[in-house]
């Protein structure tokens, strides 16, 4: 879509704000609707928009599939690690009361951390899935539809 000047400029302006909004949804999920799942999908949508506008090859060089492939399991591992850490501190698996001395603070830390893990996994899996589809096709022409 190289010749779509308006689309290129507008999405250049929008993509940072979409990612910023994703981060807001991620870390404000305790207070308002949102959390790791939604944030992950929103950030992935920004990556999809980037790939659609600037071409799949450029998207692959910015959001490297190798990095995304490392981040996807990292989210799950981070989630499970919080669980095991709680076990090591003497509690049950994923019992955040044991993370630090104060129960409520422990809960807050636990929730933020596991939501971050969920967000990491969802973002990278969704982006990887899109890149896998897009990698198989030629650039979509306007008159294709």
């Amino acid at each position: 879509m190289r010749h779509h000047l308006v689309l290129r400029i507008v999405s250049k302006l929008l993509i940072p704000f979409i990612i910023l909004y994703g981060l807001y949804v991620q870390f404000h999920g305790d207070f308002s609707p949102g959390g790791g799942f939604q944030a992950g999908v929103i950030v992935a949508a920004a990556i999809v928009l980037y790939a659609l506008i600037f071409g799949i090859d450029r998207a692959r060089s910015v959001f490297k599939p190798e990095v995304l492939m490392a981040l996807a399991p990292l989210g799950v591992i981070l989630f499970a690690a919080v669980g095991y850490y709680a076990m090591a501190m003497g509690g049950a698996f994923l019992d955040y009361d044991w993370l630090v001395a104060d129960d409520t603070t422990g809960q807050h830390i636990g929730i933020i951390t596991v939501e971050f893990g969920v967000g990491l996994t969802v973002t990278s899996v969704m982006a990887l899935i899109f890149l896998a589809y897009a990698g198989r096709t030629q650039d979509i022409d306007d008159d294709d539809w």
């Binding site: 949804v25 999920g29 305790d30 207070f31 308002s32 609707p33 949102g34 959390g35 799942f37 939604q38 999908v41 929103i42 992935a44 949508a45 999809v48 492939m69 996807a72 399991p73 989210g75 799950v76 989630f79 499970a80 669980g83 698996f93 994923l94 955040y96 129960d103 409520t104 809960q107 807050h108 636990g110 929730i111 596991v114 939501e115 893990g117 969920v118 996994t121 969802v122 990278s124 899996v125 969704m126 990887l128 899935i129 899109f130 896998a132 589809y133 897009a134 990698g135 198989r136 096709t137 979509i140 294709d144 539809w145």
Partner: protein, 190 residues
């Protein structure tokens, strides 16, 4: 007023679903599926499920539509012109629907605050979130803390599905065998 909004949104959903059933054009069906998701997100807001509505709008109308369009560019845009309406499927669907509707007769009324689903853990989780966890969003508290083990499992499922897609589509097309050869190993043997 709430009743009116509910009925109108459910009506739009019904019409969209029928249109999806009707159309032969897969591009149209995909777009209608996106509209269906967005409408159901609006309905979810009316049903107080704001977190779910948020997810449905982002996933159903956003990512899902993009993936469907990606599939269409790799396959085809039109459904094959079609044989007659099958009596078998219609019978199956009508019988299933009739049984489900029969099942709702014993269910508590829509919005009943004394329904069994509202009695056991739900009030405990709401009180616990207020007194112990002390974050405002009850859904996040249940998702990450009370039902944390569930959520860990779901995250693992997403990761596994991602691995599956990469195994199926990860290699670039050029590196694959020629299209139309469904049993390359046999043709090599022959």
């Amino acid at each position: 007023m709430e009743l009116l909004i509910d009925i109108v949104l459910l009506g739009i959903l019904g019409i969209t679903a029928i249109a999806i059933l009707w159309t032969r054009h897969l591009f149209v069906a995909t777009m209608l599926a996106g509209a269906y998701s967005l409408t159901s997100a609006a309905l979810l807001v009316a049903l107080d499920a704001v977190d779910v509505a948020f997810t449905e709008a982002a996933v159903g109308a956003g990512i899902s539509t993009v993936l469907m369009l990606g599939t269409l560019t790799l396959t085809r845009r039109r459904e094959k012109a079609h044989r007659r309406i099958g009596a078998g499927p219609l019978l199956l669907v009508v019988v299933t629907g009739a049984m489900l509707i029969y099942g709702t007769v014993d269910m508590p009324a829509f919005g009943d605050p004394n329904a069994p689903a509202m009695q056991h853990v739900a009030p405990e989780y709401i009180a616990g979130t207020r007194d112990d966890i002390k974050i405002p969003n009850i859904v996040t508290a249940i998702l990450a803390s009370y039902r944390g083990f569930d959520t860990l499992g779901e995250t693992a499922v997403i990761f596994t599905a991602g691995v599956g897609v990469l195994l199926l589509l990860g290699r670039r097309r050029e590196e694959d065998e020629e299209p139309g050869t469904r049993r390359p190993e046999r043709e090599r043997d022959a």
